[in-house]
Amino acid sequence: MTLSMHPSTLLLTRELPNLQYSSTRDRFDETWEAPLSTLLGLGRAAGADFVEFFLERVNYINCLAEDDTITSISPRLSTGAGVRVFRGKADCYVSTNDLSFTGLKAALEKGLSILGLQLPAPNGYVPEINLELLRDYATKKGKESWLAGCSSMREMGEILLDANAQLKQKATHVQSRRAVYFRDWQEVLVAASDGTFARDIRLTQSVGYNLLCADGANRSSISKRVGSTSEPDFLRSWNYQTDAEEVAESAGKMLYADYVESGNYPIIMANEFGGVIFHEACGHLLETTQIERKTTPFADKKGEKIAHESLTAWDEGLSQDAFGTIDMDDEGMPAQRTLLIENGILKNFISDRTGSMRTGHPRTGSGRRQNYTYAAASRMRNTYIAPGNYTNEDLFASIDKGIYCKKMGGGSVGPTGQFNFAVDEAYLIENGKITKPLKGATLIGDAQEIMNKISMCSQDLGLAAGFCGSVSGSVYVTVGQPHIKVDSITVGGR
């Protein structure tokens, strides 16, 4: 018996120009195994420690109804790929629209050269990368039919016009009515030099209202959106009557609201989108991206108390149809449920592959990106505060003078842990009762301080769809919480 260094079937670099791969253009399936395996081997042969390809196809459409007219239907078709190359802890990410073998090879070569690596000489071997059997969440879960099952352009238009007609009936002092919808269908394929080979289809949809009311100098603008993944029937099942009533009522109340008087107040934040407080004030600071940048005060606090003992919080990708739900992340890892904080104690961070490599915290299936032009980063999925033992009545009864933040706007957190978010619909609380509507409130604070001031959690956990912008673009997320009480927070107003 004789042994040789390489099996005779190994590819030589000089043979690359003669390869004739024929992957299907319209689908990411097993036909992509051979070319991607070769390219991954090529990257390893050049000296890369790790190589990953992310392929993406998108079929997106949005539709806008203004008053009683459809004013825009805009389809977008997109294909592209990103290749990430690691050498030690340094990495390079190259993206391209060209999904041909030549195009992907060019992107790989560019990434390698940036890291100071070169393809092997013509007589060099390309090592074989044995990819796993395609882990195909799309086929396994019957997602192939999702796109065809979504509403047609005609149906989109009809539903949005009906919805806007409802809003006209419900609201007063209307200056403009908008119903907006988008459908984002995305097919992804991930192949990496550690053998990862996985495919998925995601279907994300959102629909909602933007209502502007005006009466002389008084103005109010209220929006509401709902969102879903994995549900082709989503638009057809939109309960726009209920949403129209809610939006009209909020706009009516806020039209004549006084501006909030600035100061420090105890506040009650409503459930569902109120969860933006945890998303901004804590969730971002538990991403390994922030640990890498040294922009989180929680970096070395695992196992320590970082929040009030009444607070338990999760980040997960598994809730049925929630806006941030994913079967696998954009690095091919199955999503999981991650306990972030338990009774005030920090339990886990949110980690992607790079974050895990650079910080030591285990991957949590949280490597996410907006599209192929971004490298994946540690990002939240469905993030929420768990329900507590109090009732809403308990929360209100504990406040003599404070503010009820019923509907939150967006927010952000900076590199020093300072956060802020806007309140779209607020009310004054006096002696445990809601007394009058208020507008113009911005909540500001420090993440570490605020986490210890969330002292009461109600039982009515509710989730809401949101969009989160960060280093890897804008991704779909869920925020959520029950009604909570914050003992004291700075409210910016007039």
Binding site: I70, R76, D91, Y93, S95, A422
Partner: protein, 446 residues
């Protein structure tokens, strides 16, 4: 991206085969490289070469449909035309977008301003050096968590079935440096700076490092501020941030959609202090990312928006100009519904001020360097804002950093409350502007 002549050729052929007689295309391609560093080592290098186009087609009923795609070869364009044609039957029947009457007008500005890209290794070395200088600038500066140096070659084109065809190419390089401090017993502080120019050689690296360091150091000693009404000085960047957030004031499409603080009758009204004048000027010599034509092929130009406090023009697409019975201004973004947006603001003094002010002698002034979280704190349709900011309280030239606070108000009231527009302009990424002094704004601190 294939060359434009080639793309025009196979688009025309595909359109003919599909029976599409009227179409236009706007497209762009970008070749960019960016680097980030961390503690003297490269952190991530990104490179991208990508293209996209948006096609509009008109059907026999003269309704329009669009599709955008990143797949710009023959098959991709063919599919995009088919999809756009399908969408065209759901297009608007009133005020249907049409070709700009100026899509074939002569372009008077240079359409090419390119520079060779520097090697990646040079970008990394440059950024590492900048990081090093910042870390040496003060013992409290422990990191530069957000930093980046990028260079971009950008080209764009517009063509239509009536024979319009134009293109341009630009290069630019930009750097941002955002530091963070750590001091025992004190809260971390941060500040940053940004520069842009045509090439790495031309970029003001030293100025960027110096500004980031000086700002950061100036925030080390901070104090809470008492809530109340203050005279406020906006830095050029802060004022332009607010102006951009309320740009619906000048936006003809927003006005037609009733999504603006203005109405068609607002033209000629005094909306600001007579001390203020504002133009939008895509071709301003300081605008590195200048665009010579808009998404409909209309040449860009300088447009006076506010003249001595009077609202003097709106910005238009071809469609809004037609409805306002005026000329397009070169501000259109192509789409199923054409939108309108500004390019590059030039803010300057209007009428002479009766009294001049200086931060060197003023007392109890809030100097706002940077407003944050505009996406959350601005109610663009209500005119109100409530925003966290970085800034200082200034007394006779002494600046004391403000720990955390918000500024709130009504933008139209703010414009009327301007008491001084300084002479000296500063270049920012979104325009050229001096410091702006405003009376009686609400500040919330403690």
């Amino acid at each position: 991206m294939p060359n434009i002549d080639e793309l025009a050729g196979y688009t025309q052929a595909s359109a003919e085969r599909l029976g599409i007689k009227k179409f236009d295309i706007y497209g762009s391609s970008v070749d960019e490289t960016s680097v980030q560093v961390d503690s003297g080592e490269p952190k991530q290098v990104k490179a991208s070469n990508r293209s996209s186009v948006i096609v509009r087609v008109w059907n026999k009923d003269n309704t329009v449909g669009v599709t955008s795609t990143t797949d710009v070869d023959r098959d991709g364009i063919d599919l995009a035309l088919k999809t756009a044609y399908e969408a065209s039957f759901f297009g608007v029947k009133e005020n249907v977008p049409d070709f700009s009457p100026e899509a074939t007008a002569e372009l008077k500005a240079d359409t090419e301003a390119t520079a060779p890209q520097a090697p990646v290794s040079q970008l990394i070395d440059t950024l590492i050096e900048a990081e090093k200088k910042l870390l040496q600038a003060h013992p409290a500066i422990k990191g530069v968590p957000y930093n980046g140096l990028s260079q971009r070659d950008f080209s764009r084109f517009y063509l239509n079935s009536n024979g319009a065809m134009r293109n341009e190419a630009r290069s630019y390089t930009s750097i941002y440096l955002y530091t963070k401090t750590e001091q025992e017993g004190k809260k971390p502080r941060s500040a940053g700076a940004f520069r842009i120019n045509r090439s790495l050689e031309q970029i003001d690296l030293q100025g960027c490092v110096q500004e980031a360091a000086e700002k950061t150091i100036s925030h080390l000693d901070y104090e809470k501020i008492k809530s109340g009404k203050y005279r406020v000085v906006f830095s050029p960047e802060a004022f332009l941030s607010l102006l951009g957030a309320f740009s619906n004031l000048f936006n003809a499409q927003n006005i037609l959609d009733k999504q603006s603080l203005s109405t068609p009758e607002s033209l000629g009204k005094q909306i600001a202090s007579p001390l203020l004048s504002v133009c939008d000027d895509a071709l301003h010599p300081e605008n590195i990312a200048a665009e010579t034509f808009d998404g409909e092929g209309t040449p860009t130009r300088r447009i006076a928006l506010i003249t001595n406090g009077v609202l003097s023009n709106f910005i238009h697409s071809a469609g809004t100009a037609k409805r306002f019975n005026t000329q397009p201004t070169g501000h259109a973004n192509i789409g199923a519904k054409v939108s309108v947006s500004s390019h590059f603001y030039h803010v300057f003094p209007g009428e002479n001020a009766s009294q001049e002010y200086s931060l060197d002698s003023a007392e109890n002034i809030i100097f706002i360097d940077d407003v944050q979280a505009l996406h959350a704190g601005v109610k663009a349709l209500q005119g109100s804002f409530s925003l966290p900011f970085d800034g200082w309280i200034v007394n006779n030239g002494k600046k004391t950093s403000i720990e955390s606070a918000t500024v709130a108000g009504d933008f139209l009231e703010l414009l009327q409350s301007i008491v001084f527009v300084e002479q000296e302009p500063e270049l920012t990424p979104t325009g050229v502007c001096p410091k702006i002094w405003v009376d009686n704004l609400s500040i919330t601190g403690e």
